[in-house]
């Protein structure tokens, strides 16, 4: 099993980031939340591997800056 990649892997980081923001342009907060949820589910299914997903969930939780959980 391959481990969760934590080194650079995006070929065009600026391009992806711009695309991500572009998708949210003009969306209300509720629409943006729904978009993000769909995106997470699509990506989760693509990854599939249970251990990788569990690692990713924990990584996301751990990476919240001190005192800013829930912001």
């Amino acid at each position: 099993m391959s481990d969760l990649k934590l080194t650079r892997n995006l070929q065009d980081p600026d391009g992806f980031y711009a695309n991500l923001l572009a998708m949210h342009e003009g969306l209300s907060k509720a629409e943006s939340d729904a978009f993000n949820a769909r995106l997470i589910l699509i990506m989760a299914n693509h990854i599939g591997d249970e251990q990788l997903l569990a690692r990713a969930l924990h990584l996301a939780a751990e990476s919240a800056p001190e005192g800013r959980h829930g912001l």
């Binding site: 939340d33 729904a34 949820a37 769909r38 997470i40 589910l41």
Partner: protein, 534 residues
């Protein structure tokens, strides 16, 4: 026309026990003549254990209540002698449809697996289920089996002692006392026995109210299960439509948290709701309306000395997945052979502690599954609703999201992995029939594997020769020699890549141990272990 639930089936009748100078002592008393209590009585009586059932009522329950009976339950009913009646009357369906907002997002076919005598499940009103069990009780009575139901006998007080239980019973003609070696409490979610004994019942309480209506209609709806998330006729909530026998349809409508329960139950409130759902032109008649909330919880232990709890009295789940009555039947299946062996002096009392271990394991699995379904159907936070709706939106277009849609995960029997009665598994045999698992049915000649199993322990030999008359550790085993040669289903389920196999099967049709060859010593050791003797 009188409906079955309007007729007293076991009316109060004075019993000589009520006039005895000293309290009469029985071997087993069961409290509650619902599906679980009746099934336990049948199972014990079939094993020649005398049993008295006390019920505060005198007829089957009113309203459809539990309506989905899973395959394992039907297999247990077969063992109890009334599976055929239930399957004949019940409705089978294979297609389910899921709706979100105003549109159908997808339909699914259950495609039940071939090679089983019984379907994945049937829809049947609980009153019919109870009626068939009751008719079986009468058959056993007629055959001279030691079984008795006393109607309108309400237990008012319980004294639990180390070697017996005392019961104070109220009847229309006053009270009397009984003693019993063992007591099985099958008195439902509100179990008075549990309350009288001051026992715990902890878990999660859900605030949502659900309206259930049994509707009689001649409408031309297909025999399918329809589930709605956030439909126009019940905004922000869910709804379910299910077919039952006799043109009775079961409708479940989620109502939310803060409602006036009495007002919501009134026909002038219910009928417009249903018209909105079914269409103005559909003619229907209301048979039963009820509002329920639910909990997901269980007792810490199901055995308290000589008092044993089974069914809803021991554990409660949300209705999604039909895990209530179905798990209650599995409790009975697990308990009765053990209690019979303990009463016969064939097994030590600690065998009953394995009931606790195994059925607590089953209850936890059911609570986990039904809690997850509930969290999907009734999202408890903004973000859980966002994800729920995201799943539904994706499911409308993409197959990958459909397994995430959770409108109930249908009851399947628990596998007692790591269970205290299991013997370490042999290598190379199929996972689904490993020790702790319920036996998987398979065609056998003109009949079925499950029907060929004995009432006690069975030794199943697949392409191995074993002695026909087999007594091990003092027990006469039922032996069943079969061949997988022209039976690919049996091969897949019991051999896999192996050439031959031996299975030791418990009286409740769970696998206790298995090997790839016959060794009398190994079977003896496994059998002794499976009855907690070693």
């Amino acid at each position: 026309m009188n409906k079955i639930f309007e007729i007293p089936l076991y009316p109060y009748a004075r019993h000589p026990d009520q006039d005895a100078t000293h309290p009469v002592r029985h071997k087993v008393i069961i409290i509650g003549a619902g599906p679980v209590g009746l099934a336990a009585a049948i199972d014990l009586a079939q094993r020649d254990v005398p049993v008295v059932v006390l019920d505060d009522n005198d007829r089957v329950s009113f309203g459809s209540r539990a309506i989905c009976f899973a395959k394992r339950t039907l297999e247990i009913l077969d063992r109890l002698g009334c599976g055929e009646a239930a399957v004949e009357k019940g409705v089978t369906w294979n297609t389910g449809r899921v709706f979100f907002d105003e549109r159908e997002i997808y339909a699914f076919d259950l495609l039940p697996e071939d090679g089983h005598k019984r379907p994945a499940f049937i829809n049947l009103q609980q009153y019919y289920f109870e009626q068939f069990l009751f008719e079986r009780v009468q058959q056993l009575v007629d055959a001279g089996k030691p079984i008795e139901i006393r109607g309108r006998n309400r237990v008012e007080a319980i004294g639990a002692h180390p070697d017996h239980v005392r019961l104070e019973i109220e009847t229309p003609e006053g009270s009397y006392e009984l003693h019993s070696d063992w007591l099985i409490a099958c008195d439902g979610a509100g179990s008075p026995t549990r309350r009288m004994m001051g026992l715990d019942f902890v878990g999660r309480v859900f605030e949502d109210n659900f309206l259930i209506a049994d509707v009689v209609m001649k409408a031309d709806f297909p025999t399918e299960r329809w589930f709605w998330f956030d439909p126009p006729f019940n905004r922000g909530q869910s709804a379910l439509l299910h077919r039952q026998p006799d043109n009775v349809w079961r409708i479940d409508l989620q109502l939310g948290c803060d409602i006036d329960r009495e007002a919501e139950k009134r026909p002038e409130r219910v009928i417009p709701r249903l018209k909105e759902m079914l269409g103005e032109e559909v003619e229907f008649e209301l048979e039963w309306v009820s509002i329920y909330t639910f909990q997901c919880r269980r007792m810490e232990r199901f055995r308290h000395g000589r008092v044993i709890f089974a069914g809803d009295a021991a554990h409660q789940v949300s209705p999604f997945g039909a895990r209530g009555a179905n798990s209650g039947l599995q409790d009975v299946d697990n308990l009765c052979w053990k209690l019979a062996m303990v009463l016969e002096g064939q097994a030590p009392e600690r065998l009953l502690d394995s009931y606790d271990w195994e059925r607590v394991c089953g209850a936890d699995e059911n609570i986990l599954n039904s809690t997850r379904s509930t969290d999907f159907i009734t999202p408890k936070s903004d973000i859980s609703k966002v994800f729920r709706n995201a799943v539904l939106d994706l499911a409308a277009r993409h197959e990958f999201a459909r397994p995430l849609v959770n409108s109930g995960r249908l009851s399947v029997p628990c596998v007692y992995d790591e269970g205290p009665l299991n013997t370490e598994d042999a290598t190379g045999l199929p996972a689904r029939t490993r020790p702790g698992a319920p036996v998987v049915d398979a065609p056998l000649g003109e009949g079925w594997l499950l029907d060929a199993l004995g009432q006690g322990f069975t030794l199943l030999a697949v392409d191995v020769s074993i002695p026909e008359d087999l007594t091990l550790a003092g027990f006469a085993l039922t032996t069943l020699s079969v061949s997988a040669e022209d039976n690919p289903t049996l091969r897949a389920r019991y051999l896999g890549d192996a050439q031959k196999a031996i299975y030791l099967i418990r009286p409740d049709q769970h696998v206790a141990a298995r090997w790839t060859d016959y060794d009398a010593e190994a079977v003896t050791a496994a059998l002794t272990h499976a009855i907690a003797k070693a």
